[in-house]
Structures are given as C-alpha cells and as structure tokens.
C-alpha cells in the first residue's frame, strides 16, 4: 500500500480549503453553537491552594437575577467516574480531578462551584457573591527547590548505556551546563469552551478539543453511559498547542450542570482561568554534562532533568528522548525527576519535552564547540551517528547532516566568526547561532471512511481535528490523488466523535496516521468497486488511469455511491526502525548591549521530514513553530506568586507572546528525503519539530553576539545589562 505512483495533488502548495470560511466567519467554532434554551455557567475558582471547602454560602448568589443554580460538591450528583473504555493516555499518572466529587482544594483556581444563569454576565456577577469558607489550609509549596524534597524519579526516563561517569571524567573537554526554562502557557486565542446538551439520556457536547473520540469515551465513563451515547462536536479549533489534548474539569462540569438543570449549559473559560485549568508547559531545570575528545567526538553525555508537576498528578514528557538518540556517543546517562508543587497539572505543549530538553542539550553543545574552538555546525556533523545507539535500530531515514549543510549554505553561516562578541554592525552586536531539532515520527492506529459518489464527488470522514495545520486541506489532497479526483470534489468532515476513531490531533502524528487511514479507505473503496465490477484492482496504484476512472466504474455498475473504512496499520515498524524527523535552525540576532535589547532579524530552518504533502501549509507550520521558539527564548513565562501559588500575569497583556514587530524574516527549506518505512505516505509530521530548534539557536546566537552565555529562559533585558556603560 505504499505510494509508488507520482502523485499530482500531494506536494502542491494549495491554499487552505477552509480559509475563506475562517476569514469570513462562516466556520463555526465550539463556542458559536447555541442550542435552544442554553444557559451559561461561570466557574467559581478556589482562591487558596490547599485545604478543603468547609462551607459555601450561595444564598445571595441564588437570589441574584437570572440565576438558576449553584452546583458544588455539597449538592452535586455522585457520578460513577468509570475509566474510559480505552485509556486517555494524554492524562498523567495520579488521581485526576473529579469535579465536585470531594471538598479538597488542590490548587489556586480549581473550580469549586459553578453558577448557572440566563446570561454569562449574570452568572459571573453571581459567582462573585458566593462566600466560601476554607479549612485545614497550609502554606502551599510553590518554590521549586523546596518542592524538590518530594520529587519522584521517572524510572522509564532514567537510563544509562556504557559508563558515562567514568567517560566524562576521562574526557579531554568537559562542559557542565545548568539551564532553567520558565513555565509556559499555551494561550491559544480561542478560549476553551464546552456546551453540554442532554436529550433522552444521551449527551451531546460542543467542545474545543484536539481529541473528540477521547472526550466522548471519558464523558461516557464519567456518567456511566455507553460510548455511543456521547457525541462530541468540534469542527474548528482556534489554536490549542496541546491544551486540548485531554479532558479538563470544565467539560465535565458543563455536562453535570446541563443534566441537573435539563437545559443546555455553556461554560467558556476566562483568559485568567486558562492559566490554571487547561495545563501548561512545566517549569524545568536541567543539567547537561558533555565530555569530548580533542577531535570533537562526544565521549560522554549526562543529562539530568527536573520538572514541575502538580500534587495530584505526575506529569512527564519527552524531555530526555532527543539526548538518548541524537548524537553518536557510547556513554550516555539520563535521569528525570518530577517535582510536585501545589499548583495545577502541566500538560503537553507543542513539542512537549523535546523543545525543553533540546534547549539544554543544544546549549551545552554550543558551549562544547567553543571550548574546542570548533564550528558548532562541524561539531554536530562529527557526531552524527550511523544508527540509533539507544534502541540499536537503524534510522528509517536521517537527514540531519543534509539539514546542517544545506541550512548553513542558505543562511550564509560561513560569514560567522568563531570568536563571540567580536562582530559589530551599525552599533549593534551581531551573532549567529545554530541548534538541532528532532522529533519522533509517530505513526499510530487511526481510522477513516471514504464515500465516493457517482456525481463525481467524494467525502472523507474521520474524527480527527484541525487546530491550524490544515488537516482539512491535506486530507483532501491525499484522497484526491488516491481517487483520481480534483481536490474541489473532496469534502472533508472531521471533528465529530461519531466519525471513525483517531488518535489525538497532536504529537505530529495526524498526517502520518490519519492520512494513511484515508489512503487505506480510498484503497478499500477501490477494492470494493473492483469486486463489484469484477475488474482487476491494483492496490498500489494511487492514480487511476483517467479513461477508466472510479466514478465511471461506479456509474457503469449502476451505483449511486460506494463507501469503505480504512485504517492505518503501524504493525511492527517501530520495532524495526528508529523513526524521527530532523532539522537545523539558524538564527541571526542583533543586540543593543547598552540597553539590553535583542532583535532577531532572521531565522532559517532546514528540515528533513519525509514527504511534504502541502509545502505552503507545512511552511506555515514551521514558521509558526519558529515564532513559538522566539516566545520561549525571549518572552513567555507564567509567573507564580510564591506565597499563594497564583499566576500573576494571567492575561495576554502581561503574558507576553511575540508580536509581529518581534518577528523578522523566517525562511524554511525541506531537504529531499524519501522514507519508505515510516508510513504509507512517507510523511514525518512537522507540528512539533518546528518549535524545537529555535529557542536554543536564539540563545546560542545571543552568546555569539555578546559573549554572554544565558542559560535561563526567557532571556530578558536585565540579563544583558550587567556590564557598565
């Protein structure tokens, strides 16, 4: 079922098919549905981080205009809270927060009640009238060092090969590099929202989600329903970056309130609530020690990570994955602890773990290059391995060297002087920095349904989402090629749990997994048609001959339409190959050292990501990832008040993400890479790798410009100010 024929639609830089609907407002997002009789819920947040709710006085709130109910653990229904029929693997170990199931307060901002009213304004005002009495409070543990006393070792991530300690000690060159990355919050523009509507014991949800299949299963478990009794609808997602990967309590609270009141209920989080209730990239402290011989060959890598989690759940991510496989080094050790604070639980945020881990590793590599007086690109080329030394598997394909070489060439890296702080133009210090990006080419089970009609159109159906990468368009391109139809003839329907099951829309796996399922479904349609018409079917053929099109066959057979399901089938590929995307990111910075200002006039990324289904959309994903990297390097930090655990800067005026004025020229190149192993489409996905290299490349460029090594993100002006004028 591999793609052997030359495709005609795949590889074309088509504009988003849903672009017009989005810019004209015709695309409906979850918050825009309004079932008749809908009420509005507003969450009452815990104002303390620990203890329990001893009493809740809702009398004034209930008497306030328009208020229908105040629901809290004192009057909430007792739900079965069954586990879903298949696991929600985006949920970390621990005890998930069950809305209103007990009186315990776990973090500031935890929903402890919901006020339901006719309008959102009435609900919001009434929420302010509720009087909560807390008991058994203790001072929350917020300080990371203090919290580290209760850290848990992640055994799976604590690995060693060879004898790294001895190898490090015996190395000609040694680097010992400790880094800190602030907590980041996803902050998509679209707020998280759920509208819940019960009809005859069945639940329908409109929900901002990256995984509607899972939301349906989790809610079915919560309420003790059959999975088919919950339908989740989420046709468009206005950005999520991982915050829509698991079920959060407001979704369950909307369903509880709607059932209690027998009316549809909508709960939309405020921006401030989004800083506590839908996860964040964890604050992370890391130490990387690198040893090398005088030829610049790595002799030891020791990478220790520590990241925050909540008290009730133990979140961990792919922090150390790149370190174990990226470079050719025989002696490697990694260790990972998670540190419980009295705050909300982190979750996956774009390139979860890899983006943070690579910042530490690639900063250390830059330090090693300087210590060896070796060009940083050359150091990485010298340590490019022939196979994955962690899994002992061959790479299905690996284009890192090509990315480094071609990227350096395009960027003009040869202009760079080795010496830091030595290059001044127009009164500004100039620096070039490089870093490597990598992310696993995930390929998992997914399903799709394809319906071909005699009128020459086809429909693709799958439960996946499109939070921005262009899934609507790229799936249509796959189906168009597989069915021999123009793209305009393909209708793509996604974002409904009733459609064929898919994995989360995240982890850079949608194109590989869902795209392959669409391809399989198209082939199943062809096979079915061949059986009916008795013609020979060549499943490898993606592009049928036009003189005998599938539609013609369908008409001759006298059928109005034909439909088939298809599934991606990862099989044992992951046991035979180490499968990853690779890239190299090059950055130029200009630093006004007197005022501490950093500008980034340009970033260039070269990526080896297998087949590129739509170069325009893929480029857009890559530049978006770079911008995310600029945010990580220079701006983003959710600041916690140490005394209370409250997020201090919980709005988009104070939680800084890059503005257009912060972004210079962004260029993207894809190196030629054919991977016959990863999946039938030969794609590796780019959503995560796009964010991986930018932040370390920026910090490395700042060092090159100024000679000042900054290991804490975000890099702020005062860190560069120290020198006297």
């Amino acid at each position: 079922m591999e793609m052997t024929d030359a495709p005609s639609m795949i590889g074309r830089p088509l504009a988003r098919l849903d672009g017009r609907a989005k810019v004209t407002g015709a695309a409906r997002y979850a918050a825009e549905f309004a079932p008749p009789g809908m009420l509005h819920g507003f969450l009452v947040d815990a104002t303390v981080a620990t203890g329990r709710v001893a009493a809740l006085d809702a009398r004034t709130a209930l008497a306030s205009p328009g208020v229908h109910a105040v629901i809290w653990h004192g009057n909430a229904p007792r739900l079965p809270w069954n586990e879903p029929v298949s696991p929600e693997f985006t949920r970390p170990d621990g005890a998930r927060l069950r809305a209103f199931a007990d009186d315990r307060v776990r973090f500031v901002g935890q929903p402890i009640a919901v006020v339901v009213a006719d309008t959102i304004e009435q609900a919001h005002f009434a929420a302010s009238l509720i009087n909560v009495t807390y008991a058994e409070q203790r001072d929350p543990v917020v300080d990371f060092t203090e919290a580290s006393a209760a850290a848990t070792l992640r055994r799976d991530d604590t690995t060693a090969r060879g004898d790294p300690d001895a190898a490090f000690a015996a190395s000609d060159a040694q680097v010992d590099c400790s880094t800190v990355i602030a907590r980041e919050t996803h902050s998509p523009l679209e707020s998280h929202v759920t509208i819940a509507h019960w009809q005859q014991g069945k639940l329908r949800l409109w929900d901002k989600s990256q995984w509607v299949s899972n939301v349906a299963r989790v809610l079915a478990g919560d309420f003790g329903l059959e999975p088919g009794d919950v339908e989740v609808i989420s046709p468009y997602v206005g950005g999520a970056f991982g915050s829509g990967g698991r079920v959060w309590p407001h979704t369950e609270i909307a369903a509880i309130a709607a059932r209690e009141l027998d009316r549809p209920v909508k709960i939309e989080l405020t921006r401030r609530q989004m800083f506590n209730l839908v996860g964040h990239r964890p604050y992370t402290e890391q130490r990387v020690r690198l040893g090398a011989n005088s030829d610049g060959l790595l002799t030891a890598i020791l990478h220790d990570g520590a990241a925050e989690t909540s008290r009730h759940e133990r979140f961990s991510e792919g922090l150390l994955r790149p370190t174990r496989m990226l470079y050719g080094c025989a002696d490697v050790a990694t260790s990972y602890i998670v540190v419980p604070r009295d705050t909300s639980t982190p979750t996956y945020m774009r390139a979860p773990g890899e983006a943070s881990g690579l910042f530490a590793l690639e900063t250390a590599m830059d330090e090693l290059a300087w210590q060896l007086r070796l060009d940083p690109v050359e150091l990485r080329l010298r340590n490019d391995p022939t196979h994955d030394l962690h899994s002992n598997l061959p790479f299905s394909s690996r284009s890192l060297a090509a990315c480094l070489r071609q990227g350096a060439e395009t960027f003009g890296w040869s202009k760079r002087r080795l010496e830091p702080g030595s290059w001044i133009e127009d009164g500004e210090q100039v620096g070039y920095g490089v870093a490597v990006a990598t992310y696993p080419a995930n390929y998992v089970r997914a399903s799709a349904r394809v319906r071909l009609s005699a009128n020459g159109s086809a429909t693709v159906e799958s439960a996946t989402s499109d939070m921005g990468p262009g899934t609507y368009t790229s799936l249509a391109q796959v189906a168009a090629d597989a069915l021999g139809l123009p793209v305009e003839a393909i209708a793509v329907e996604i974002g409904r749990s009733a459609l064929p099951n898919t994995p989360p829309h995240g982890g850079s796996m949608t194109m590989a997994s869902v795209g392959s399922a669409v391809l399989a479904a198209c082939n199943a349609v062809k096979q079915k048609l061949a059986q009916i018409t008795g013609t020979e079917h060549a499943p490898a053929k993606l592009v049928p001959a036009p003189e005998d099109s599938l539609v013609e066959q369908l008409r001759r057979a006298g059928l109005a339409q034909i439909e088939a399901d298809g599934h991606s089938n990862p099989g044992d590929t992951a046991k035979r190959f180490s499968m990853h995307a690779f890239g190299a990111v090059f950055v130029e910075v200009r630093v006004d050292r007197e005022l501490g200002l950093v500008r980034i006039p340009r970033i260039h990324g070269a990526y080896g990501v297998g087949r590129v289904v739509n170069p325009r959309l893929t480029r857009s994903q890559c530049t978006g990832g770079m911008i995310g990297g600029v945010g990580m390097a220079l701006f983003e930090a959710s600041e916690l008040d140490r005394a209370s655990g409250r997020v201090i800067n919980a709005d988009l005026a104070e939680y800084l993400i890059p503005t257009q004025a912060d972004i210079g020229e962004l260029t993207v190149a894809f190196v030629e890479e054919t991977d016959p192993h990863v999946n039938p489409l030969g794609v590796k996905g780019v959503g995560e790798i796009a964010v991986c290299g930018a932040a370390p490349a920026i910090a490395n460029a700042v060092w090159h410009a100024t000679g000042k090594r900054l290991r804490d993100l975000p890099i702020r002006l005062e860190a560069l100010l120290e020198r006297r004028m």
Binding site: L656, L717, L721
Partner: protein, 329 residues
C-alpha cells in the same frame, strides 16, 4: 461584572449631574471596562461622555490644546503634533495596540489605573489601592515591573501611561471644569503620589471633568523624542521610557526636558538631569554625566533594580541622539 446603570450625557451639565449621583465617567472604556469585568472596579452607574464636544486638537497662540476625548490615534496621526510635539506623538504611538488607541482617549489615559498584578487580581488579599489599609503584596512579591521612584511603604505600583510622560516633560496643564468653575492644573498636581493613601490617585473633584490638555509649544518640544523600552517590540508596558527635549545653541544646552515612564508611581520629571545639562556644553561626556542623575532618589526592590541603570542609559541614549540630530541641522 456587577450590574450597573448606563447613561449617555448629552451635555456637560447632565454628565456632572450623573457624576454627582455617583456615576463613573466613561470615555474610551479601555481601562475602566476591563477593570469592571475583573471586578476590581465597581460602579453603580456609568456616564458615557462620548457625545461631549471635547475631541478637537487645535493651536491657540503658543499653546496646543487637545480635547480630552481626542483618541490616542487622533493624536498620533495629527500632523501638527507630529511636527511640533514629536515626543508626544511618539509616546502615544508606542502605547497599547491600534485597536486600543482607536478607543482610548487622552483624558482617560491620564487617569488610567496601574497594571500592578496584585491590584488587577481580586484573588490577592493585599492591595492598598483596591482595599485601603489591606497592605501591599507587591512589596514582598514579584516587583519586576514596579516603580522605583515615588514609592512608599504602602504602594509601589507604576503609572502606566506613555502620553503622561511626554506631557509631564513639557509642562502640560490639564483644563478641568466643575460646578465650582474652571481651573488648570499641572500633570504633577493632577496625579498624586501614593504616600500613605495610594487609593487616592488624582485631585479631580467628584463632579469635575477633564476638558482638555494644554501643551505650551516651543523649541524644546519641537526638538523632542520619546523612547520606550519594553520586553517585546509592540503592545507592552514600559520597563523604562523617556521623554526628552533638547535645544542646543552655540554648542551649549539652552533648554532641556526629561521625564521618565515605567519607573515612577507617577510620570517622573528628572529635574536633576535638566539642571545638569542647561548652560553646559552638549558633549558626550557632559550628557553622560547628566544622565547619571536620571533616577536620583530611586528605591529598588528585589527584581526591579535594573530599572535604575536602564533609566540612566535610556536618557543618555535619547539625549545623545537629539544632540546628534541638532548637530546635523
């Protein structure tokens, strides 16, 4: 937010009548409505001033008169202001975002409330501005964005306006009209230092309206500039900003004006720098020496100490740029 009555004033008298009954004045609403939603502000009623004829920008004699309801966009795009008061035009353009500048008015901008996180989040118990006498959470909390000048033991919240910094530097006055009549006050007399009553932020009488802002025109305003340093290139509040004017004649500084934003609990006039400049040669070394006085009297907390040095460097940079521009002319 708390339910409130909404009236639209047809004229000044009806506006004042509403104010006397406890209504809050609503101009652009970019600060007040935000704070009402956050439940930091409560108002039984709002009186919309939008219909009052306070929007014109005109020159009368040697004075530039800006109606209190002129929007920040009106000001930034006004050719007279761009030419005669570049520092003000640049300050306004460096404020907020285009959408906010289209709505925000100059009168409201002067009276906007602080961005202090402990003030804006009712979840914090302590804030003397929000709850008089409750204390100040910023004093032992995250103070990176807070003031180092004009602070007290009761409040260290920074004043957020850019425009007010330029207006303070160039001796603008604010025209007020109330039942008791009309009067003019300097910005420094309109905005109060926190002292031990940080909840009292201005000296407006309860039924007084800001009618206009008046800015004396002259050489030093025409040769002025505004520089704003912030964490990102657009849409962020100042870490440090400086409004500076400089007139050099025969190599000597004839006039100098310096005010700072982002560092004071009110827009901060740096008289010490001005005094150190006037009558002296406009050389790099004398300018650098004068700029060292930019943050005289500063009291830093745990994280905002960098603002002291940054204020000096910013003032120095703008002064040198202005001196260089003058040299070319």
């Amino acid at each position: 937010m708390q339910p409130f009555a909404f009236v639209r004033a047809d004229d000044e008298e009806s506006a004042r009548a509403a104010l006397r009954q406890g209504a809050r004045a609503l101009a652009g609403g970019t600060s007040l409505v935000d704070l009402l939603r956050l439940q930091v502000e409560q108002a039984p009623a709002l009186v919309d001033l939008g219909k009052l004829p306070f929007r014109s920008i005109e020159q009368a004699g040697g004075v530039l008169r800006i109606g209190a309801l002129a929007t920040l966009s009106d000001i930034a795009g006004n050719p007279l202001i761009q030419h005669a008061a570049p520092s003000l035009a640049q300050a306004v353009l460096a404020s907020a975002s285009p959408q906010l500048r289209n709505a925000a008015t100059i009168g409201g901008n002067l009276l906007q409330r602080t961005r202090c996180a402990y003030f804006r989040d009712t979840g914090f118990e302590r804030c003397n501005k929000r709850k008089p006498g409750s204390g100040c959470a910023a004093l032992d909390g995250d103070d990176r964005g807070h003031a180092v000048l004009g602070v007290s033991d009761h409040c260290i919240a920074a004043h957020a306006s850019d425009a007010a910094v330029a207006l303070t530097a160039f001796d603008a006055t604010v025209r007020l009209r109330g039942t008791a009549g009309e009067r003019s006050v300097a910005i420094a007399d309109l905005l109060r230092l926190p002292g031990d009553t940080p909840w009292l932020e201005h000296t407006l009488a309860p039924d007084e309206l800001i009618v206009a802002v008046e800015l004396p025109l002259g050489d030093v305003l025409r040769r002025s500039a505004y520089r704003k340093l912030r964490d990102r290139a657009s849409y962020a509040f100042a870490l440090v900003s400086a409004a500076v004017g400089l007139v050099i004649e025969d190599g000597l500084v004839r006039e100098a004006r310096v005010a700072l934003g982002g560092v004071g609990t009110v827009p901060w006039r740096a008289h010490a720098v001005e005094d150190a400049l006037v009558g002296r040669p406009a050389t790099q070394s004398s300018v650098s020496q004068a700029a060292q006085r930019a943050a005289d009297g500063a009291v830093a907390g745990t994280q905002n100490g960098f603002k002291v040095e940054l204020a000096r460097r910013t003032v120095r940079r703008v002064l040198l740029q202005l001196a260089e521009d003058t040299a070319w002319k």
